[in-house]
Subunit: 361 residues, 2 copies
């Protein structure tokens, strides 16, 4: 077990915003919640999976909905308390550990606040190794583990428990509830034993996020290139440097949908790319061709400072760098590509791993 202080939480928040590929909501807010929890409960507990018993039961707390309203509602603490109570009532089994459903923005830092309140440890790992916009898009699905029972709740005290036959139905039934709640809701789901998580989770991803965050912080401190620092830690690729010349976005069916148009600068002058998103970045398009796609990660970072920018904060004029980062191997299996690859999001192309298309500069 490792005890996390404020600095570690800050690094995890920054790093998971990179892995959040534009989604997951403003990590600053999740970080605030975790820092408040440190103040109240002391350092937060991060455990490696091997430190737990195989029959320990883990659940994932999450925010569900379009990230835009996250800007107003900070911690989802009331929502999560209602959801947890509902899930517990349904399950009738004691939970002994907390896992992030995704490494991305709020959803990867909020679990620390939740776990501190519950006196439980957070497992070093998550269910995606990135962020994804739909409940079934977790590596758990690839191994037949259920999102259900999944409880979704609002701050008023309303809760819905989804007991679905599969994780696609968990998504179909959970999201309408979040939409009724006003586009954002708190939830608990994915009750999975530690023994099963060893096979089906993306392990070590909290530490991975922390390394990314640390690299950005050190580059800022040492005035070295933060983008290069991130590509080094992630084995990622610097795809494009430029200035944002347009951001289109709309909220539809509970998602933030849109695209960002970036005009090349410096070595990228005269070129233009479009990055499309559904909460998370899905594809990078240049000259009508998709040059990087899910399941690989697409991150947009402030070129100067290396700070990751979530889609709701992207603005005209920002100087940004676009990175392509290899996803976890679980997503690169045939089943993984079918579940979370380009065709799932309506792009009829074969997935090409980012390292096959780009070479390191």
């Amino acid at each position: 077990m490792r005890l996390l202080q404020a600095q570690e939480i800050e690094d995890i928040a920054a790093g998971s915003a990179v892995l959040g590929t534009g989604g997951g909501g403003d990590p600053y807010l999740g970080k605030l919640a975790a820092l408040q929890a440190i103040k109240k409960y002391g350092p937060l507990q991060l455990v490696e999976i091997d430190e737990l018993n195989d029959d320990d039961l883990s659940v994932c707390p999450f925010g569900i909905g379009s990230p835009v309203p996250f800007l107003e509602r900070i911690t989802l603490d009331k929502e999560l308390a209602v959801a947890y109570k509902a899930m517990q009532r349904w399950m009738g089994r004691r939970v002994t550990a907390i896992l992030s459903v995704e490494i991305g923005g709020m959803n990867s830092v909020i679990p620390f606040a939740v776990a501190a309140e519950m006196g439980l440890p957070v497992i070093d790992g998550d269910g995606m190794g990135r962020a994804y916009p739909e409940a079934q898009l977790v590596t758990f699905t690839l191994y037949g583990h259920s999102a259900a029972p999944m409880a979704v709740a609002d701050a008023r005290g309303n809760a819905v428990v989804v007991n679905s036959i599969d994780n696609f139905w968990a998504e179909r039934l959970g999201r309408p509830a979040a939409i009724e709640f006003g586009a954002i809701a708190g939830g608990f789901g994915y009750p999975i034993t530690v023994g099963d998580l060893k096979e089906c989770a993306v392990l070590g991803s909290v530490t991975y996020a922390e390394h990314i965050g640390t690299a950005i912080r050190q580059a800022q401190k040492e005035h070295t290139d933060p983008i290069d620092a991130v590509t080094k830690v992630t084995n990622g690729f610097r795809l494009f440097d430029g200035r944002i010349i347009d951001v289109k976005r709309k909220t539809e069916r509970g998602w933030a949908l849109g695209e960002t148009v970036i005009e090349g600068l410096d070595g990228y002058g005269g070129r233009q790319v479009i990055v499309r998103f559904q909460n998370e970045h899905l594809v990078v398009i240049e000259n009508d061709e998709i040059i990087v796609s899910v399941p690989d990660l697409i991150a947009i970072l402030d070129t100067e400072r290396g700070d990751p920018i979530t889609t709701e904060h992207l603005r005209y004029g920002f100087r940004v760098s676009v990175l392509g980062i290899p996803c976890d191997e679980k997503w690169r299996t045939q089943a993984g590509i079918e579940l979370g690859g380009p065709r799932h999001f309506g792009y009829d192309i074969d997935f090409v791993p980012v390292e096959e298309r780009f070479s390191r500069s």
Copy 2:
């Protein structure tokens, strides 16, 4: 306790289709399910509320959604089995009686099939004394009794348990699930003790429906006027006789919405009325004036035979009679009119009881 044979079930089905005011789905299908249950389990048990103990717990099975797909899915037996299991798991308390949530079409006859399978009696009463298109539009709401926990399920095995803070939220959270399930779902809800039902339910309404059904059947047999027979049993009013010249309908947000235009015949020649519906009939309009409205009941019956016609069966050319029937007194209180009156459905008029506007012919 009274044992119901096939004839009683047929009469209840016919009568509750009158009280269903155009909604509640095709009563023929609910009747089939109940008749099958008689075949399998013997006569069905109808009990008066006083025959049960005050701490007996009753629940209401129901179909939720637009009635149109009812035409294809007969009994909702799989849906209801899944929903019941989910609700039981949430409640953890034994159910000892079954109540119709509404007297209207399928939802008032299906409970007999469900109860027979569960070996439970059906209480002579319901939660509306009519049919209504939204989950909160029950007399229970007027007395502060909750629709929750409410379980909604499909035939695939998916279930959602809604644990809402009030019955408006039960509606808002239950309907989207039904829509995801394909516009129709089976559900259980409104767990209320017999002691509380004595105050908040519309009691005796199954027998009332049976009397209406019997009156129609006898009029058909004796070749007397079946419309007059219904107005006599219900203290209702024959508002209009005519021929349907137009039916507009659409399915929207899980409801069948539309209107029926009827051109007067015989004594009503030269006149025209429009009957608007949201699953159930809401208002009768003549010369741009609302002449009857919810919460009073508006029924459209075949003029010759007296058979009630649900909105999905209304067709151009049908010869029909429009009836206005006084609703239960609970709906005529200030709270009742606010909950289920014209303004709830967007008609900005004061409710005028049908007997104040019309006199008996």
